[in-house]
Structures are given as C-alpha cells and as structure tokens.
C-alpha cells in the first residue's frame, strides 16, 4: 500500500490550543482482519478533520480492537482518538492498553464507561465495569503524571491526552452539566457530545455549561450525524437508549421518500442545518461528526457547512505548531469559539 503524502503535523491538542474551530470524525471500526477497510474509511474523512475517532466495540458488538485500528491510523499519518471503555477490561488491562497505545503513537484517548453488552452480540458475557468513565479519566491522569495506580513509577510516562463525552439528551437533564464538571475535575481535557438532533435541548445544556465556566476550561465539540433513511431515524429514536430524535426530524426523513438519492440528500441537509444552528450557541470549540458507516457523506457535509479543520490554517503558522506540546498545566483556561 502506498503511503499517503501528507501526515497530520498538527496534533489534536495543538489544534485545540490554537482556538480555531476543530473538527473530528468517528469512523466505523474494522469488521474483519482487514487493515485496508479501516484505512479506506480513514481516507474518506482525513482531509476534513483534525483527528479521527476509533470506537471500542460500539454497542457491545465485537469489532477490531480500537488500539489496533488506532495504530493503523497513526501509521497513515492520521491523529487517532482511541475510545477506551470499562466494559471489557479491568484496571490492569486498561493501564497496559493505554501504555501500549501511547508507546505506538496513540495519545488521544476518549474515556468511556461503554455501552452495556445486553444490546450487543454477546449479551451473555460477563460485564467488567471495574472502573467507571470518571475513574478511567483519573487513571489516565495518574499515568500521564508518571505513576501506575499501584504508585509504582512509570519511566517514561505516557503522554496521554484524555477526553470524555457527555450526553445532554438523557435524563436527569439538570445533572448533565454537573457531571461534565465532574469529568473535567477528574482530568478530561476535551469533550465530545452525543449526537445532536434537538438543538433547543443542547442550547439549554450549554447555558448551564457556560454558567459553570466549563467551556473556558476544556474545548467542547458538539456531536452531529447525518441520517440516511427514515428507518434509521426511527431506529435511533426507539431503539438506541439515550438518543433523542425529535418527531419533526423523523417526519422530514419520511417525507423524503424511499428513493436513495433523495433521502440521503435530506439527511445531509438536516445535518448541515443543525451545524448552522449550533454555530449560534456560545462556548463550542467545534464539531464531532459521527457518520455511522457512511463516511462518504463527510466531505459533502464539510463543504456545505464550511467545516475546515484547524490544522489546515495552522500548517501555515509553524510557530503555533511548535508551541510546547508538553502542556503540563492541567486544563489551562482558554477561549474557544466554533
């Protein structure tokens, strides 16, 4: 396989430090012992993003290990964000996975609790959940500062950049911004949210987040996704817990009919409209795209919504790129705007 010409020189943390809008995108993890499939998906999105998320057995369905797919991306010159869930690993495995990934060039780790296996393809598996997402953030922070949980020293310490998620669309709504605050206190250095279809709910969430001053402590990326059909919209609304798809979105997808070109066009249009509406909300540092097995849509969404990765502007300003990457100041306050 030929090596692509331009590796990402600006890493995710430098992109955030610049204060420019940042774009990230999740790709589907490999569904076979095939590195080409992962690389093909990454190539569809790489020009439009600052970093690419690699999920860890999403929805409890087995896929290629997130660390393996992340390393494939790192070798491609793409900055990966590796998802790490607490569902399948205890604290020993979590520490060794984070250390190994960091040694191979995977710095960005998204610390998640993980979807429960009851909704996956191995519902009878033993749930681990030795730690929860906040404790995992704490663990990443301990490792980053050169210690195992046992207190033993790590030399050299893994240069991790831990991130977290929050879902503004699941009850208890009042508690969600406070939980985000807990995550920031536990060590989260960037945030990616659940997919937004209900902009009003997201705006209300961000009002509280701004009141708490969290947008100035960590960059927050709003999650967005294109729908592909009315069936997908209904499935998300009814079968995916924690996902809110308002009726008017489902109705619009139904009205687009069953013809593929028309329903896909409508899905992209809704996604772009949501991005435009989210731009008016203060406190966002950019967007996180989740195309759900439809990576082909990303370039279209990026061009219509005028989404450009921060690194595109930064490459021209080498001074910012070279700014000290060992940003040891925890959650340094900074201004962001989308």
């Amino acid at each position: 396989m030929t090596r692509p010409p331009q590796p990402f020189i600006v890493r995710l943390d430098a992109a955030f430090r610049s204060g420019l809008p940042v774009v990230t995108c999740e790709i589907a993890a490999g569904d076979g012992a095939d590195s080409d499939d992962v690389i093909r998906r990454a190539r569809l999105v790489r020009d439009h993003v600052d970093a690419v998320n690699v999920p860890d057995n999403t929805a409890g369905v087995v896929h290629m290990a997130a660390w393996a797919a992340s390393i494939l991306l790192a070798r491609e010159g793409v900055d990966p964000i590796m998802h790490v869930t607490c569902r399948d690993r205890n604290r020993l495995a979590l520490q060794s996975d984070l250390l190994g990934a960091a040694a191979l060039g995977v710095r960005n780790v998204l610390c998640l609790t993980g979807d429960h296996m009851v909704h996956g393809d191995h519902p009878g598996a033993k749930p681990v959940f030795d730690l929860d997402s906040l404790q995992l953030l704490g663990l990443a922070d301990v490792l980053r500062h050169g210690r195992y949980l046992s207190g033993r020293e790590i030399k050299p310490a893994p240069d991790l950049f831990p991130g977290a998620t929050e879902n503004p669309f699941a009850p208890p709504y009042d508690f969600r911004p406070l939980r985000l605050q807990k995550k920031v206190e536990a060590g989260a250095r960037f945030i990616q949210t659940q997919i937004t279809f209900n902009v009003q709910r997201f705006a209300a969430f961000m009002v509280r987040v701004r009141d708490l001053g969290l947008d100035r402590r960590v960059p927050i990326l709003a999650g967005v996704a294109p729908l592909r059909s009315a069936r997908a919209a209904r499935y998300m609304r009814e079968r995916v817990p924690g996902m809110e798809v308002p009726d008017d979105v489902v109705r619009r997808m139904e009205q687009a009919g069953s013809e593929r070109a028309r329903r896909e066009e409508e899905g992209i249009r809704i996604c772009v409209e949501i991005i435009e509406q989210l731009r008016d909300i203060g406190g966002l540092a950019g967007f996180h795209l989740m195309p759900i097995h439809w990576e082909e849509a990303v370039s279209e969404i990026a061009s219509r919504a005028r989404l450009t990765p921060a690194r595109a502007s930064l490459a021209a300003i080498p001074a910012i790129v070279r700014e000290d990457p060992a940003d040891t100041l925890h959650n340094r306050p900074r201004e962001h705007r989308a």
Binding site: C86, R87, R91, T113, G114, D115, H116, V118, H119, P127, F129, D130, L131, D132, S133, L134, Q135, L136, L137, G138, L139, D141, V142, L149, S150, T165, E166, N167, A170, P171, P172, D174, F175, L178, R179, Q181, K182, E185, A186, Q194, P241, G242, E244
Partner: protein, 134 residues
C-alpha cells in the same frame, strides 16, 4: 462513608484483628438486612449512600459510582433493565432533599473489590479503604 473515625479508635481495631473479625461476624447480618431493606444495598463494603441521595449506586447494572451513563431512557428508566428507574435519576432527585446535597458532586474513587461483602461499618472503624484506585 465520609465519616472520619478518630485515630485511637482506628488504632484499637487495627491492633485487635480477632476482635474486629468477631464484631464483624455479629454485625454483618444486621447491617446486610437493614441496608438491603432500606436502600437496596449490594454490600460493596465501601458505602457512599450518604453521597448518592441514600440510593445504592451498586444497583446500576454498570455499577457506576459517579453519575448516570449516557444511556438513560427518555422516561428516566435504565437502558439495561427497562422496567427499572435509573438509580442515578433516583439518586439525583433524592439528594435535592438532603442538607448535604452538594456531596453528589464528589468524584468517587474506584472500588476495592476485595472489600465486597464485608461490613462497611467495620471497614470505616478499622480504617480499611480502597487500594489501587484512581
């Protein structure tokens, strides 16, 4: 439990492991029964009921000790057990009535699973707490 036991008390229990064990054997059935009936306790041995609106977080299928996961249904029910109210929805609601409601915002460390099934009360008195936890 965020109750600090005076050092001499802790020291006494630590110097007398046999007595501590005997006391635990006597206390355990009452503690288990009482907390199970009142709070649906799962006997993790590291009680934080006080900080979680007097709702046992170990009733969560993911045993989350720091707040609800992102899978809570629109009606406030659990994603894993649809007929059950999310323990954290309950915890958040109940904590509002408590004078120490701010305690729910404390970041809870990971569990020491070797203390599971032991008496949380005795663990507090003897100063036994989580190890290797973030």
């Amino acid at each position: 439990m965020s109750i600090s036991v005076p050092a001499p008390v802790r020291g006494f229990f630590q110097r007398h492991p046999g007595l501590t064990r005997a006391l635990e054997i006597v206390i355990l059935p009452f503690e288990t029964a009482g907390k199970k009936v009142a709070f649906g306790c799962k006997m993790c041995g590291q009680c934080i009921l006080h900080e979680t609106g007097m709702t046992c977080p170990m009733g969560c299928p993911k045993t989350l000790r720091n707040g609800p996961c992102g899978g809570v249904r629109m009606n406030g029910h659990c994603e894993v057990i649809p007929e059950m109210m999310c323990v954290w929805v309950k915890a958040e609601r109940r904590s509002r009535w408590l004078p120490w409601r701010g305690e729910i915002l404390k970041v809870q460390p990971g569990l020491d699973w070797s203390l599971k099934g032991r008496s949380a009360w005795i663990n507090v008195l003897a100063g036994r707490h989580g190890r290797e936890t973030p």
